[in-house]
């Protein structure tokens, strides 16, 4: 037996974080701490209009009145909000007209991240917006998109250039007072991506954002707003990495999606923040609020591959407001060492004949804890709503834990809800079956793990699926497929 489950487990546990480098770029970092002046200063630094500053200050006010929630099944030292710098930007040339002007060191960073901008430009045709330490540093393919009327830029640019759009939609899906971290984000968000697809336009390429925390002692608070107008379609990708540091870094993002009538938004995330070392030292706290609203016959599909972060706390949700709207959630969450993940989704059915699908796959190894927490809510008016949920957990090793907390609230008799969950390890009988068909154990495990995650991997765009498989940290080179 060349490759046993034990070895696989070991490899899983010992696999080091490949993105843990730090790029030495001079950056402009605010002093640590948070108060009204800092909020004003961030707003001023970004040359924001008055209404935005006020909006932030109101959010800050409500944040000070809120308490940090502790209901999630995660255990971590509470971040000290006065010990974080709320703004950090690479100092060199704030805006680039072409890639040639970009700091070579920055370009090098992107290369190491595996997102060579040139290459992407030539090959895949993926438009990328790159956010480093909270500030958008490069957006590619802007012109090509502009021809179609698609706006794809950083949110700070959008606040300046398209204030009406931003003002109309920001905070409508995730209100400022929604939760503790959403309020914090609303007060101090420094950048993020903004995307608007006009009526009836099918976005010709995948839009993509890369986030990276580079500077020490900073938190990253980005804000993404995607608006798909009537009958439009967009596929949006998001990836994230951070350097390996001993202290914990805070990442509190807000993502808002608006899908108007008949529109479709596909939002994929490959989250690979630094997970901390094998002893649980360092790593990113990932506290994210993601939510989308579906109008009539619209569709929002969340796909996420969660491999990083010391603590993950996120629930990409769909509010199915319009009749016949559809929400989907596909997730793979891998935790190992001392990682903790409490993730899942909320599907709120308000419209008639709304449908939702939830497929969640959790893989826990090492001494990690992996929880699925989800809510399916059928309001009394949502006639003939349909939901299918499946949460499967795979345990590798006897020191890890897998938990499911599905909440199902139904107030309409015509609803059809199915929920099923299983927890198991890789079955000896499964391996035995493969063995007796002439497939060795190495290949068998590869097949089984791959099959376990297939439902979700299939939902990812091609380029991402490849990366995601890599990121699953189950290096099954030569044996996958």
């Amino acid at each position: 037996m060349a490759y046993t489950e034990e070895e696989l487990k070991k490899e899983l546990e010992s696999k080091e974080y490949a993105y843990g480098f730090y790029t030495d770029i001079e950056s402009d970092t605010f002093p640590i701490g948070l108060n009204e002046d800092i909020v004003r200063a961030i707003s001023k630094r970004k040359n924001e209009p008055n209404w935005m500053t006020e909006w932030r200050l109101e959010a800050y006010q409500s944040w000070t009145e809120m308490e940090e929630p502790d209901w999630a099944n995660v255990d971590y030292p509470k971040p000290d909000f006065q010990a974080i710098s709320y703004y950090s930007a690479p100092k060199t040339a704030p805006k680039y007209n072409s890639l040639d002007e970009v700091d070579p060191e920055l370009l090098d960073t992107f290369k190491r991240l595996g997102i060579s901008i040139d290459e992407q430009k030539k090959l895949a045709g993926v438009a990328v917006d790159i956010v480093m330490d909270s500030v958008s540093v490069a957006t590619t393919f802007k012109e090509t998109l502009a021809e179609k009327g698609i706006i794809f830029c950083s949110i700070s640019e959008a606040i300046k250039e398209y204030p009406n759009l931003v003002r109309k939609y920001i905070g409508t899906v995730v209100p400022r007072k929604d939760n503790y971290y959403a309020a914090l984000n609303s007060a101090v968000f420094s950048d993020g991506s903004f995307c608007y697809i006009p009526k009836g336009v099918r976005c010709p390429m995948e839009l993509s954002t890369y986030f990276r925390i580079n500077q020490a002692g900073t938190g990253q608070f980005e804000r993404t707003l995607v608006i798909a107008d009537e009958g439009s379609y967009v596929s949006y990708l998001e990836g994230c990495t951070a350097p390996a540091r001993d202290e914990n870094q805070l990442h509190a993002a807000v993502v808002e999606l608006v899908a108007h009538d008949h529109a479709e938004i596909k939002y994929s995330t490959v989250q690979n923040w630094y997970p901390g070392d094998a002893d649980g030292k360092g790593g990113v706290f990932n506290f994210v609020t993601k939510r989308g609203i579906c109008h009539r016959s619209a569709k929002i599909s969340w796909t996420q591959v969660e491999t990083g972060s010391a603590v993950t706390w996120k629930y990409p949700s769909c509010i199915l407001k319009g009749d016949d709207s559809i929400g989907e959630f596909y997730s793979i969450a891998v935790t190992n060492n001392r990682q903790q993940a409490d993730t899942g989704t909320k599907m709120v059915h308000l419209g008639k004949r709304t449908k939702s699908t939830i497929i969640s796959k959790g893989i826990s190894a090492g001494t990690s804890q992996n929880s699925y927490r989800g809510l399916v809510k059928i309001s009394p008016r949502a006639d003939e709503a349909r939901n299918f949920s499946q949460c499967d957990s795979l345990l590798m090793g006897n020191k890890c834990g897998a938990h499911t907390f599905p909440y199902i609230e139904v107030g309409n008799k015509s609803a059809q809800i199915e929920h099923e969950a299983t927890t198991s390890k890789i079955g000896e009988d499964q391996i035995f079956y493969c063995n007796q068909r002439g497939i060795d154990t190495e290949k068998a495990i590869a097949l089984i793990v791959n099959g376990f995650s297939k439902d979700v991997l299939n939902k990812l765009p091609m380029e991402f699926a490849v990366e995601a498989q890599k990121l699953l940290e189950i290096s099954l080179e030569g044996s996958v497929g």
């Binding site: 209901w71 009394p380 957990s393 345990l395 590798m396 090793g397 006897n398 020191k399 890890c400 834990g401 897998a402 938990h403 499911t404 907390f405 599905p406 909440y407 199902i408 609230e409 139904v410 107030g411 309409n412 008799k413 015509s414 609803a415 059809q416 809800i417 199915e418 929920h419 099923e420 969950a421 299983t422 927890t423 198991s424 390890k425």
Partner: protein, 438 residues
């Protein structure tokens, strides 16, 4: 004075007039402290998120019933299983009724909690078991621990197979306005003992009754306890039923809960595994309408290897009824080779009915097989149509399908008389007469 204050004050008054074993007195005083500190649960607590207690705890209940009414056999006839010979422990307004009961001390003890608490020969058993299985942080349980002085005490010795079922029945007559009852049951099945128990709470008038019952069950090595709860009380009745089961090696505990009546029912059913190779079964049928609320909270704590738990709850909700199901399965790291199964199926018959369900798994061991399934849906329209084409009227056809839906739970009932009684109750609830017994 709200109910909480009243209860605490009543406790103080009561302790001065009664004599307890010192050990028990200590348990009680710490329990009332817990209750005083915690008060009644609120909706802010995760375990009570969907179960509002407002109305229940705002009513002024009589804590110590003064009056009793003599009941004749005719009054209680419909509520006692007669078609099978049984032992009976019957209480009327919280007081033991020797006339209606049939207890025994021959080869085993089927008697009263009050007797067990006061007679020296039971001291050892009481000290070993009383309040050792409960969740002391649960405020309803703490309240019962402080007040509960009467109930059933059943002790089955080693290898004794009890030849007939035991019925525990609590009647309330309505002579006391707004009565609050706190029965306390203790059941100990020693090694390889086998026993079947049927528990029922029944009010005979339309006055408000609030029953807060706690049952502790201990199943020793290889013992089998088969427990049936028939909850079919009046509309003004409320019930909080907490059952704690501690299991030893090779034991098998089965609890069937049939919830048809009462305005408010909350079931807390906890299984704790203390050794290997244990089987736990819990099943339930809930069939409610009007403004009824039925809440099932179950917990199976798998702490040792090679054990099994099997859970199946079926719910049918009509009118403005509310259903809550929270099934928690915890599998500790040592509990390898655990096989835990949980199934919760629900049918909503009306637009105003609500169901909130949360099947929850917390698993720390890797070599386990844990599954849960949960569905919410309707009766199959095509099956309904098929039956109608065969000349079965719609109402009867619906009833037949409802039976079929609930049948898995009924199938494992081992006392035929109970099965027939449940069948009759379902038929009555659905307003049909199928003319045959399933």
């Amino acid at each position: 004075m709200d109910l909480q204050e009243k209860l605490v004050a009543s406790y103080m008054a009561q302790t001065s007039s009664t004599e307890d074993l010192s050990a028990i007195a200590k348990i009680r005083s710490s329990a009332i402290e817990t209750f005083e500190q915690q008060g009644f649960p609120t909706k802010k607590m995760e375990e009570w998120k969907y179960t509002p207690l407002n109305k229940l705890v705002k009513t002024d209940y009589t804590v110590f019933p003064k009056k009793t009414k003599n009941l004749t056999l005719d009054d209680v006839q419909p509520y006692i299983l007669h078609d099978v010979d049984t032992y009976k422990i019957v209480f009327v307004d919280g007081v033991y009724s020797a006339f209606l009961s049939e207890t025994t001390h021959e080869g085993m003890d089927v008697c009263l909690m009050s007797a067990a608490l006061s007679q020296p020969k039971y001291r050892k058993v009481i000290e070993t078991y009383f309040d050792t299985a409960t969740d002391s942080e649960d405020s309803f349980t703490a309240l019962n621990t402080a007040f509960g002085r009467e109930g059933a005490f059943i002790h089955i010795p080693k290898k004794k197979v009890v030849e007939k079922p035991i019925q525990i029945i609590h009647f309330s007559t309505g002579v006391n306005q707004n009565l609050m009852l706190q029965p306390r049951n203790l059941i100990v099945a020693d090694q390889q003992a086998e026993v079947q128990i049927i528990e029922r709470h029944q009010s005979l008038s339309d006055t408000e009754v609030f029953t807060n019952v706690v049952t502790e069950i201990f199943t020793h090595k290889g013992a089998q306890v088969d427990y049936y709860k028939i909850q079919n009380d009046h509309e003004e009745a409320s019930l909080v039923d907490s059952t704690y089961i501690v299991q030893q090696k090779h034991s098998h505990a089965k609890v069937h809960t049939f919830s048809f009546g009462s305005r408010f029912v909350r079931n807390n059913l906890h299984f704790y595994h203390k050794d290997e190779a244990i089987q736990s079964t819990m099943k339930g049928i809930t069939l409610v309408e009007g403004k009824q609320l039925v809440d099932h909270h179950t917990l199976v704590h798998h702490a040792h290897p090679n054990s099994e738990s099997h859970q199946e709850y079926k719910g049918i909700y009509d009118g403005q009824a509310t259903g809550v199901f929270n099934g928690k399965i915890v599998v500790e790291q040592e509990a390898q080779k655990t096989n835990a199964f949980q199934q919760n199926n629900n049918i909503l018959m009306s637009d105003k009915a609500t169901i909130n369900t949360k099947p929850q798994l917390e698993i720390f061991a890797d070599d386990v097989r844990c599954t849960h399934g949960c569905t919410i849906g309707q009766l199959d329209e095509t099956a309904l149509f098929y039956l109608q084409t065969r000349g079965i009227p719609q109402k009867e056809a619906r009833a037949l399908l409802t039976y079929a839906f609930a049948n898995n739970v009924l199938a494992s009932v081992t006392i035929p008389a109970v099965k027939m009684r449940i069948n009759a109750l379902i038929a009555k609830k659905l307003g049909v007469n199928l003319g045959f017994n399933l």
